[in-house]
Symmetry: D3
Subunit: 247 residues, 6 copies
Amino acid sequence: MRPTDQLRPIEITRHYLSGSPGSVLYRCGETVVLCTASVQEGVPPWMAGRGKGWVTAEYNMLPNSTAPRKPRERQGKVDGRTTEIQRLIGRSMRAVIDLEALGERSVTVDCDVLQADGGTRTAAITGGFIALVDAISAVMPGRVWATAGAQGHGESGGGPIRDSVAAVSVGVVDGISYLDLDYALDHRAEVDMNVVMTGGGRFVEIQGCGEEATFDQEQLHALLGLAGQGIRALTERQCGALASAPN
Amino acid sequence: MRPTDQLRPIEITRHYLSGSPGSVLYRCGETVVLCTASVQEGVPPWMAGRGKGWVTAEYNMLPNSTAPRKPRERQGKVDGRTTEIQRLIGRSMRAVIDLEALGERSVTVDCDVLQADGGTRTAAITGGFIALVDAISAVMPGRVWATAGAQGHGESGGGPIRDSVAAVSVGVVDGISYLDLDYALDHRAEVDMNVVMTGGGRFVEIQGCGEEATFDQEQLHALLGLAGQGIRALTERQCGALASAPN
Amino acid sequence: MRPTDQLRPIEITRHYLSGSPGSVLYRCGETVVLCTASVQEGVPPWMAGRGKGWVTAEYNMLPNSTAPRKPRERQGKVDGRTTEIQRLIGRSMRAVIDLEALGERSVTVDCDVLQADGGTRTAAITGGFIALVDAISAVMPGRVWATAGAQGHGESGGGPIRDSVAAVSVGVVDGISYLDLDYALDHRAEVDMNVVMTGGGRFVEIQGCGEEATFDQEQLHALLGLAGQGIRALTERQCGALASAPN
Amino acid sequence: MRPTDQLRPIEITRHYLSGSPGSVLYRCGETVVLCTASVQEGVPPWMAGRGKGWVTAEYNMLPNSTAPRKPRERQGKVDGRTTEIQRLIGRSMRAVIDLEALGERSVTVDCDVLQADGGTRTAAITGGFIALVDAISAVMPGRVWATAGAQGHGESGGGPIRDSVAAVSVGVVDGISYLDLDYALDHRAEVDMNVVMTGGGRFVEIQGCGEEATFDQEQLHALLGLAGQGIRALTERQCGALASAPN
Amino acid sequence: MRPTDQLRPIEITRHYLSGSPGSVLYRCGETVVLCTASVQEGVPPWMAGRGKGWVTAEYNMLPNSTAPRKPRERQGKVDGRTTEIQRLIGRSMRAVIDLEALGERSVTVDCDVLQADGGTRTAAITGGFIALVDAISAVMPGRVWATAGAQGHGESGGGPIRDSVAAVSVGVVDGISYLDLDYALDHRAEVDMNVVMTGGGRFVEIQGCGEEATFDQEQLHALLGLAGQGIRALTERQCGALASAPN
Amino acid sequence: MRPTDQLRPIEITRHYLSGSPGSVLYRCGETVVLCTASVQEGVPPWMAGRGKGWVTAEYNMLPNSTAPRKPRERQGKVDGRTTEIQRLIGRSMRAVIDLEALGERSVTVDCDVLQADGGTRTAAITGGFIALVDAISAVMPGRVWATAGAQGHGESGGGPIRDSVAAVSVGVVDGISYLDLDYALDHRAEVDMNVVMTGGGRFVEIQGCGEEATFDQEQLHALLGLAGQGIRALTERQCGALASAPN
């Protein structure tokens, strides 16, 4: 059995689709998410002329990513959970992007869950960031990172990406704090918290809630501690993947 | 100018509509929310037969609650922000409700924003809780609170409400931490956090995020401290309002 | 008991919301409608360039304005009754407006029913007119009325508002004609008629119908007589309210 | 040129579609409406068990009934005008139907406008009534009319249809009152009124409105006089058509 | 009984609606389709500036075209069958049109089924073509056909219509091949094929399918033979109709 | 360059998702489709009690399966092409299924296109069939095939699957007939035909069309010949994949 403070095994496949430069197949245990980022020149009309770009995200579960099969969201009503998650992913990406350095470009990070076993939104953020780097890299080669020499690629700096971003879930199950909840744990959790942090260790987002339960100061600190530890490990995996081939 | 650690003036009018026992007009500065809770016998089919009730919430901004006028959400697409907020209000109410003690009843807490000046979701939670108490009181007289003698009304206990719940926003503006952000502050905030807590001082929900920004451990602690202080003041106001007339 | 030819008590609160110059809380017995008018520079594309403005209305019942709770119209289908009512309100406002004198401005009169006890559409027209005057007054100060010296304010004339407009319901219940039907009467009425008239005593709209019933010439005349009497009283109340503070 | 108090030529073809007993092609000048009534055993769930039936109507303009072509109402939004008209047709039919004598049956009167030249809603009512009689006749042979010997067919009485119903438009154009407005007149009318009456001369519905105009008592009386005269002529045409072949 | 290789009786009424030059009432046995083609100057934005026109089609069944009554497609969801059929009609029309010779014009062919007894889509194509010719003729008089002297009208040629197009269904019922299936046959067919061909004998479209069944090479050839024979007869009827009055 | 009568390279990965027994990743050149079949006990209400099952399909392109990114079909309008394709896949599956032998079970075959380079619908059918076999195998082990000894697995027969089914596209480009069109060919094709056939060589469906073009008898025969050849090769690949591990 996995220790309570250890991540599930991670597997990152960059360039998964030959036609999409920013396409990453991200596996975390049995959770599988296809993250593809695409860049379009120009921004929505309400942003035009300000010299700034925009990054947004979409999240979707394929019908057979869970059992029993989940109907597609085609009826014109995207459910509340989906909306919340794709807004979270979008904010997380924007937290590490310098929209002015991006220029008037629109990036969409699509996160399609092929198989769900808990932690799909955090997998989407962690994998989506890699797809984002690869997609921006394809249109702004050599100018991806904000800092010179970033990622060991001899980058000249001034690019739109200021830091990496990753996310992990933590929670309390039967009074014990756990890192990286799979579905079986998540289902039984009294408290459930998603934490998004930068590679530099700053918080981007904390969303903690107790459905039909509450939590105290002490539990909050324990959970934040576990999350920080998980994020550090994920950041290392992201760096490793991005270093594995020149962009 | 209001000190950074002080709430805006609160005004609570119970029984605002003669036809709705649980109807509260809640003002917090220039923010005005009409909270009405209604109880229906029975639960949705998927919950029937378990002897448990359900509490849900809806949130809506009237078109002229902001300037310029905001179109109504009638096109079959409730926007993401609305969805997030009404899910948050619902979870907050359920965190203090014993659904079994409620019995097979469905409660809807409707929060209609008449005027918006920041903090509408936290006003909706704080005011909505009072409407919830009044609405349950109308159908379960004398059996509202879970604890005997609660609220000084000589309650016999065993009722569905286990504790009060209130919410407040905190944030960082120009590097300074603020309690209870109005629109002008919220608009400029680097970090924005909504905190929901029980009267007993336990966390129900923490939603903190830095849109195009991040925050560190120290800032997090300062914000949580301010929030706790604000919640304590709000809890006192809720108790005062509920004590003002017998239910 | 109220005489059959007498209106319910009316209460008009102007400037109900601090952020909306044209916001009126209108009470007629237990019916409560929040009427807010907002002015936007410019007109829809199909009207542009003709130097004329446009006035339109929206009508909505809050979920707890009736018991049992009425679901919100969020599914993309606004029901037929709502559509009919908001078209009626819009036509009634336009009947007293000189659209050319208004200039290329769009006015929306939002009528949100907080509590419904019969006569909500007529309350919306009577109260909405006051909100309309106040909203136009805020953008065209001193040039609201078409006639010089109108409303005793030393108006110079040439403004867009040609006359006041008010509405009342009349009906036949158990063979007797009634003025201003509340819900209990309306529910039992064989014939139901809404009459919209100007302050000058001209008809704007007559909508009379017998659901599963019919009516004859004589009944029609009796009802129109009662309606005229009611409109005269409402016109006086409108004038009084508008005179109560300079615009 | 047609006199101001004369109807356009009427042409009524019963049994227009071989597969629908209640199918009437109704022409009034260049206005052509296909009215088909269909009867279904049973009523909606909310009416079941009361021994009463229900009659409803749908109205639709075919895309090329007007020039330029009018898009179909397929986007999930039936426009306000359509809604108003189909509600009017439904109420008009129900005004002459004894729903208890109909028994637990649902009748839908579909009015599809093949060509529109003004007066489509009144044509739909006048023609729809004949389709209604034929459709009810097909399922309740010999028991259509409420009165014995009705329509000269040796009816035994006790049927659901209590009287005939017809409708006509009247209006004021350039200060002159007109009967039965075609599109050219309607377009220029200051006041427009639709009147629905029974064969027995009682009012079912009066809908009069002045778009951006108003009207006085005297004009109202002149219009109602013209309408009564038109209805009498239409009633004769309906009787003639229904007498033309045994049902 | 009709021989297996013979069409049902066809009846073509051109100029059925006085206000639409291209309006054809097409009857094939008990199937009745109103085909109206309308021409609009200009093309959709994505086609503009290329000097080419566009032809599209819409298909709709009136509610009482079948028994029991079929609800209208007003809920924002046009069903799959409708979509397939209107795409088929559009492609069939475009196959015989020279879009450059049409110029920047948009033609819509509306096919409204008044009564359905099998073969509505093929009737829509065969009748729709005649409406198309008449509609184009109204805006491009004397320049309809691509070939000089076409249709015996002394045409000068260079027009947009290159050939006629017609369609017919064929199928296998109880192992026997049939031409022109009515509803009773269609319902029992193991194999069902719709064939669209030009007057010149070339295929435009073949759609053959065996619902819960399959077919072999030999059956395919027999069906195509029958279809060719049917199309030749239909082409003659189309030519006859178009020759009946000068365009 | 690939010969005109040769398929692109095929790659079939069964059991692609650990949680879905019937999940196949199907690659045909650069086209990648994830086909997952899921079985649910029971059938829709309108089919219940007849002892028969049902098979249906859904088709979807992921946003980045094409460049530029294609928006998701979430607005309540599934486009016509999608509808046509998923109906085609469903009919193709049902053509080889004995719905009575399936029993009252519902199978959904979901085809999600990860990358599109032409031929996605035929890939969906060919790959979807394998997913269908695996999914049925998981709930009816040893009773999948209708014929004893089928697939060399010592099957006892009596199962629901009567034959295999595969599909391929053929077309005419610059006057030359091609097998298995990729996007570049498809885009330029004058005639485009999709052919669905069983492993036994019988037709299930032929959909041939010439967009703005037509084809003759001879071309039809050439295309059907190429298609038959392609189907035989695909059938072999399907058998090989299904034989690769016991079900």
